[in-house]
Symmetry: C2
Subunit: 241 residues, 2 copies
């Protein structure tokens, strides 16, 4: 297995350059990436935006929405790239087009996978650590299950501040750590809170953090802050059951 | 029908006093409020916290978790108060204990209802405009359907800022308006973005905004900002189908 999982927030020159460098090492000389844009509503506009922002790293993005048989497109793809947007919409469409099992099989067989934001959420066992609004009900919260832990993309610490006129004022909604603590009130799996710009590389042998810090949350343990570059495998093992 | 729907963020003296004043006008001289604490994990601690923060407005909060037959507790309640926390956990438990239909019937028959945050989300037709993390899968996204529109509690405009050391830095996740726009890519109902501290009063005759501004989102229309006190009924009518 060979996965690259990005947090999101690839909006600065440095972050885009980091991502492109990792993508080239990850995908090598494949001639195209099968791009899955289902998390956004306008698929063609999405492909155009990725190229304009340089997030294709020079590769041809081959939109799955142009194929009559999306499952076959996955089966024949040399590389898979699942983009961000709304995770519920993405999962809804992965089920609608019957893609969960075929993507899982292909990636487990070694086809390189890149996920960003929602595309990182769906690489986990469930969508339960997404930040997105549940705008559509997928048939299940279970996702690709490519890694044995959960990731929370766009992670940050502490209280949010929002604009009120010209001022930034504190907002009293649950913090991200509150939300992940609530996840662990009902679930066992470790959660990796991945700051924006962060990239996780997952191979059969290791899980390596690059480009941004992260916080590891394990049920019944204090959260643990980690800095890149770091191997996280020991912290993200599934809990003994 | 007689509903009081609070946004959340009742964390300042002024906001707590506003809420208490509205609660007393709303509930009058009932001897207790049946309190539904399922959105948080620790039900007794939740009741204690509400009293400590003064959010009971002097009423006795009668926790539904002390009843062997929660549906019967609803059927006999003089007033219903659904607290905040995680909306998915709340909806999961409302279905688990078979409470959706009995609450709906009682409130439609005139029993006064108060919801805060998650308790406001579930008064809507669906949970689709919650901000919460999907930590558990409820059997359905359909909720109490007491009002014909959706509410987004803890609403704010613009980009979030988060703490990085001592600095506040912009965060690139979707804004709240992005999320509600995505809701309208897949759904028709109007959405009311209710700022923290805001309270909506819904009767058979009117929908009235109190204590904080709100933004009305209607599919295919520009968002509309409204200030309290305002009647919102004309903006929140279901779309003609």
């Amino acid at each position: 297995m060979n996965l690259l999982l990005g947090s999101g927030g690839f909006r600065t020159e440095e972050r885009v350059a980091n991502l492109a460098r990792h993508m080239r090492a990850h995908f090598g000389d494949v001639d195209r990436l099968l791009f899955i844009p289902y998390a956004l509503a306008d698929h063609d506009a999405y492909v155009g935006m990725m190229v304009q922002r340089g997030i294709h790293a020079g590769y041809r993005l081959d939109g799955i929405h142009h194929y009559d048989d999306p499952a076959r497109a996955v089966a024949e793809a040399p590389a898979i790239f699942v983009g961000g947007g709304n995770t519920f919409r993405l999962v809804h469409d992965l089920y609608r087009f019957g893609l969960i099992e075929v993507i899982r099989q292909r990636v487990r067989a070694g086809v390189p996978y890149l996920g960003i934001s929602a595309g990182t959420n769906v690489a986990c066992p469930t969508l339960m650590t997404t930040n997105d609004m549940p705008i559509v009900a997928p048939p299940s919260f279970e996702t690709l299950d490519l890694v044995p832990f959960q990731i929370n993309p766009h992670y940050f610490n502490g209280q949010v501040h929002v604009q009120e006129g010209e001022r930034l004022v504190p907002h009293f909604g649950e913090t991200r750590d509150d939300r992940i603590r609530e996840y662990h009130e009902m679930n066992d799996r470790p959660v990796l809170g991945l700051w924006e710009g962060g990239i996780l590389h997952v191979s059969d042998d290791d899980v390596t953090l690059h480009c941004a810090p992260a916080r590891v949350f394990r049920r019944g343990h204090q959260p643990l802050d980690v800095e890149p570059v770091a191997s996280l495998r020991e912290w993200l093992a599934p809990p003994a059951s």
